[in-house]
């Protein structure tokens, strides 16, 4: 398949490059079905790139949604076995502190047992020995098999495996604008190719809407009114240090600032939940940050004085709940709609759910698609391990360390010093990480690596990577500087609300450099 064509053909078009779309692509390939995956931006641009990275044990849902809890339990065990390279088996604690409802805490172990989730009750002393940062106001603690999972690594490997199996294709920056319909079927998706700024028509036999929070908008393009979503924004903070080894959950009904998840060398604190209408303009607010910290500090007092390096917000699609139940009580389960009732026979929508259950969501979706294509192959993703590929692994902090110890070459210079990202990683990413082959840019590297994720948030390494890309001839004109500016603007969205203390000094230095010296704030005026 050529990238220059204006019309493309495939068996299945998957719309949405989150973990769900990536999982569907691999599941299809394992059943011998060729697909094309598109995203209007790039992999994990939606909720998949802005979550806690918590591979739920199910414990969080035992009180509100036992069915979802059981799904989580099963998928948690399965993924630990089949995709261990993306997972850190951190273990999870549920802790109740003074002020929390003792009755809720008391019945938690039994609820876990009912859902089949291992739950070990710990004395407060034992819990604080495991995690000394826990509050001394703790009165109950349980240990569950929570783990953490890197969604970027996971999505990249799913896509990579699909490419390897049958040449299925991933195209970033391709947005569906409308559908060409005839005789109760979608014939083609009319897209815009943002990378080359031109229209693109994609013909397929089956169309899958894996648009996450955007699923309702995409379904409506095909005249389907049966996807009804509300949007809840969640905000998460990233600390400079890893504050706890375990996932720490508040042992109370889900609320704000009640989960602290380790992510390699940092910790992620969240979340708040706020209704929003607009999917494109979501960002953290100072109020949400302060609320998260205030609530989190009840479990872990050190959160009040911790240094935070960024914050981000993403939207959870809430499948319309019955009555006036609260957003958090609304189903976190997923919905698969075949749209037959809407008179469209080769289109389906999968939305809702969790990162933890992405594989199961893909399985159910592909069961439907395969049936419609007359393919009766069984799903293989519950048994075939996810193959490894170093080109897709630079989003994991451990990769750079491994590389450093194993392949240390003085001439392979470290471009991102916070995250020890060497030049050779960039070459590897361009050569082997899906979606980067066409787009050799700073942003494409950042998405597929830890570049810019450390304490300096890319303010130095962005410049070094930019120079390197110019050196290698990937940039030949002012485009590289515009990309550099856009990269810093993008990183800033995550920093804006957590700039105080040391971060204010860091930010002043960055701005002195980027604007005062390099003049990235005057690029347009200058040219």
């Amino acid at each position: 398949m050529s990238f220059d064509a204006t019309t493309l053909e495939t068996e299945v078009l998957i719309i949405g490059g989150g973990v769900t779309g990536a999982g569907i692509m691999r599941d299809l390939a394992l059943r011998g079905i060729h697909s094309l995956l598109i995203d209007k931006r790039d992999l994990c641009a939606g909720a998949s790139g802005g979550n806690h990275g918590l591979l739920h044990s199910g414990g969080r849902y035992v009180s509100t949604d036992p069915a979802a809890a059981m799904e989580c339990r099963q998928e948690n065990a399965l993924l630990k076995r089949l995709a261990p390279q993306c997972i850190e088996t951190a273990g999870g604690l549920f802790v109740a502190v003074e002020g929390d409802d003792p009755a809720f805490a008391e019945k938690f172990p039994a609820l876990c047992r009912n859902a089949g989730i291992d739950c070990e009750e710990l004395s407060p002393g034992e819990a604080r020995r495991l995690e000394p940062v826990l509050s001394d106001k703790l009165f109950k603690a349980c240990r569950v098999p929570d783990a953490t999972i890197d969604p970027f690594h996971l999505a990249l490997l799913n896509v990579d495996h699909a490419r390897l199996i049958d040449g299925s294709v991933y195209r970033p920056h391709t947005e569906v604008l409308r559908f060409e319909m005839a005789d109760g079927e979608i014939r083609a998706a009319i897209c815009h190719d943002h990378l080359h700024n031109r229209p693109l028509t994609i013909r397929a036999r089956q169309f899958v809407n894996a648009g996450g929070a955007w699923a309702m908008n995409i379904a409506r393009l095909a005249g389907c009114a049966d996807v009804s979503l509300l949007y809840a924004k969640g905000t998460i903070l990233v600390s400079n240090d890893r504050l706890a080894h375990h996932v720490v959950n508040r042992l109370r009904p889900p609320g704000d600032g009640d989960i602290l998840v380790p992510g390699g060398t940092v910790s992620l604190l969240g979340t708040t939940s706020t209704r929003v209408d607009d999917l494109e303009r979501v960002g953290p607010t100072v109020e949400e940050i302060d609320r998260n910290i205030r609530e989190g500090a009840a479990m872990i007092p050190a959160l009040a004085g911790a240094r935070y390096i960024r914050a981000f917000s993403r939207v959870r699609p809430l499948l319309q709940a019955v009555g006036n139940a609260s957003d958090r009580a609304a189903s976190r389960g997923f919905a698969l709609l075949d749209h037959a009732s809407q008179g469209v026979n080769n289109f389906c929508t999968i939305t809702g759910g969790k990162l933890t259950t992405f594989r199961l969501m893909a399985e159910k979706t592909v069961d439907l698609v395969a049936r419609r294509l007359g393919n009766d192959q069984a799903c293989m993703t519950a048994t075939v391990p996810l193959p490894d590929d170093e080109a897709c692994s630079w989003t994991e902090p451990a990769t750079a360390l491994k590389h450093w110890h194993r392949d240390r070459d003085a001439d392979d210079m470290i471009l991102c010093e916070c995250e020890m990202l060497p030049q050779s990683a960039i070459e590897q990413i361009f050569a082997g990480a899906p979606g980067a082959e066409q787009e050799r840019t700073i942003e494409a590297v950042a998405l597929r690596s830890r570049a810019g994720k450390g304490p300096c948030q890319g303010s130095f390494c962005g410049i070094r990577i930019g120079s390197y890309l110019y050196d290698q001839g990937h940039y030949r004109d002012a485009t590289g500087l515009a990309h550099l500016r856009d990269f810093f603007d993008e990183r800033f969205k995550g920093q804006r609300c957590v700039i105080w203390g040391q971060q204010a000094a860091q930010m002043e230095l960055a701005e002195a450099l980027h604007c005062g010296l390099l003049g990235l704030d005057t690029l347009e005026g200058d040219r």
Binding site: I463, S467, G516
Partner: protein, 428 residues
């Protein structure tokens, strides 16, 4: 350690050793004021060596070519800007005195002119500045004349790519090309500007580099290098390389910490004590108090506590990066005296949504208030103390980053603060 404090007595104590602090010390000794200076010299190493006055005005994207005219319009649009408390004559004199001093110490600078110089940056963008080190002067000239020029970069030097400079300047400077060299004796691994600069103090290294430069310069009449032309005698290193290559040579600043910044730091640290300044580098003042007879600075070094007793004090402690201001979740504070800080209403107002918004961020206009004599004011608008003066970017109502006016604010306000301190000291 409970050692007895050591006491120093001085007329003027300068707190801070950024450009404002050093400029204040220079102006003070030129006026025969007995001076002591305390401060960590880290911040200086960030500067490029360019001394900006006004390079950009307001939220406009356009660059300022005539800073004096910009100054005149600043007086209309931003009367509270610290530069508006200094006359154009004083600013001119301050820059001249500062650059003359540097020149006399062996670090030649261009004199403050009637218009800005269009200077080069490490990514091939352009920057308007008032004075440049002599080692950097040939670049802007060659660009203006489209002289054939080669930018030479080095294997192993991160963040400086000749290809990037050329790609971004090609339209303006069609005769610009680039070549890559191995720095003499540094053919493996990463190389660092500071190490290269020190190596070029050695004649043999210069000869080898000159030979390599000749090998790649071709028709180029001018050679541009990252800023590595020696640490202590850059003008000599450049002259030698020019002699050896028969071509004009200039430097482009690199990413911080940059050699031109380190040069300034080392020069000040070496020269000021020779000129009689009691310099206590690498230390922070932990308390500052005033009584009827003067001010006392408390600090300590590795030998124990120190007390500096002064008749007058200039506070030039900079902003967040240097620690003069602290950004707490609940608000911005001045760290030594808890002077009132003019600032946006709340943390949510500190920054705009877009990082590179040309209008800049409100947090950068926060700072302390002074009167026309550069004495900090209390919340009630009274002088904090007759003996206390302030200078540099700690002052409110300026955004030196967006305004491209870092050194200018530092030099101009220090000039005025010292003038006023002198008046106060001699009035006694």
């Amino acid at each position: 350690m409970t050692a007895e404090p050591r006491h120093f007595t001085t007329q003027l104590a300068v707190i801070g050793s950024g450009i404002a602090g050093f400029a204040a010390a220079i102006f003070a000794i030129n006026r025969k004021i007995v001076t002591a200076q305390v401060g960590n010299t880290g911040a200086l190493a960030y500067t490029t060596g360019y001394l900006d006055l006004i390079g950009k005005l307001g939220g406009a994207a356009g660059l300022v070519t005539d800073p004096w005219q910009a100054l005149a319009s600043l007086r209309e649009t931003e009367p509270k800007h610290p530069l508006c408390r200094v006359s154009a004559d004083d600013i001119q004199q301050a820059f001249a005195e500062f650059t003359d001093f540097l020149g006399a110490c062996g670090l030649a600078y261009s004199a403050p002119g009637a218009s800005n110089i269009t200077a080069l940056t490490p990514v091939g963008t352009l920057k308007q500045t008032l004075c440049v080190p002599a080692t950097m002067a040939a670049g802007p000239r060659a660009m203006a004349a489209n002289t054939p020029c080669v930018i030479v970069d080095f294997r192993g030097l991160k963040g400086f790519s000749g290809a990037e400079v050329v790609a971004n300047l090609r339209d303006r400077w069609p005769q610009l090309t680039t070549r890559r060299l191995v720095f003499p004796g540094m053919d493996r691994g990463e190389v660092y500007p500071e190490v290269m600069a020190r190596a070029l103090e050695v004649p043999a290294t210069r000869e080898q580099l000159a030979e390599a430069l000749n090998g790649v310069a071709g028709a180029a009449r001018v050679i541009g290098l990252p800023a590595i032309l020696g640490m202590h005698r850059p003008d000599h290193v450049r002259a030698e390389l020019e002699r050896l290559t028969g071509r004009e040579i200039f430097e482009i600043p690199t990413m911080p910490p940059s050699v031109p910044g380190i040069r300034l730091r080392e020069l000040f640290q070496q020269v000021l004590p020779q000129r009689g300044v009691t310099l206590i580098p690498q230390q922070r003042v932990t308390a500052l108090s005033f009584d009827g007879d003067g001010a006392t600075l408390a600090l300590s070094d590795s030998y124990g506590p120190i007390r500096v007793h002064a008749q007058a004090v200039i506070l030039a402690t900079g902003r967040f990066l240097s620690g003069g201001l602290e950004a707490h979740p609940a608000g911005i504070r001045e760290h030594l005296l808890d002077l009132p800080v003019t600032q946006p209403a709340g943390r949510a107002d500190w920054y705009r949504d877009r990082y590179t918004d040309p209008r800049g961020h409100p947090i950068h206009r926060a700072g302390i208030e002074v009167d026309d004599s550069f004495r900090p004011l209390t919340r009630e608008g009274r002088r904090y103390h007759d003996r206390l003066f302030a200078a540099g970017v700690i002052l409110a109502h300026q955004d030196w980053i967006r305004g491209r006016s870092g050194a200018g604010i530092a030099i101009a306000t220090s000039f005025r603060a010292v003038t006023e301190a002198k008046r106060f000291l001699s009035g006694r």
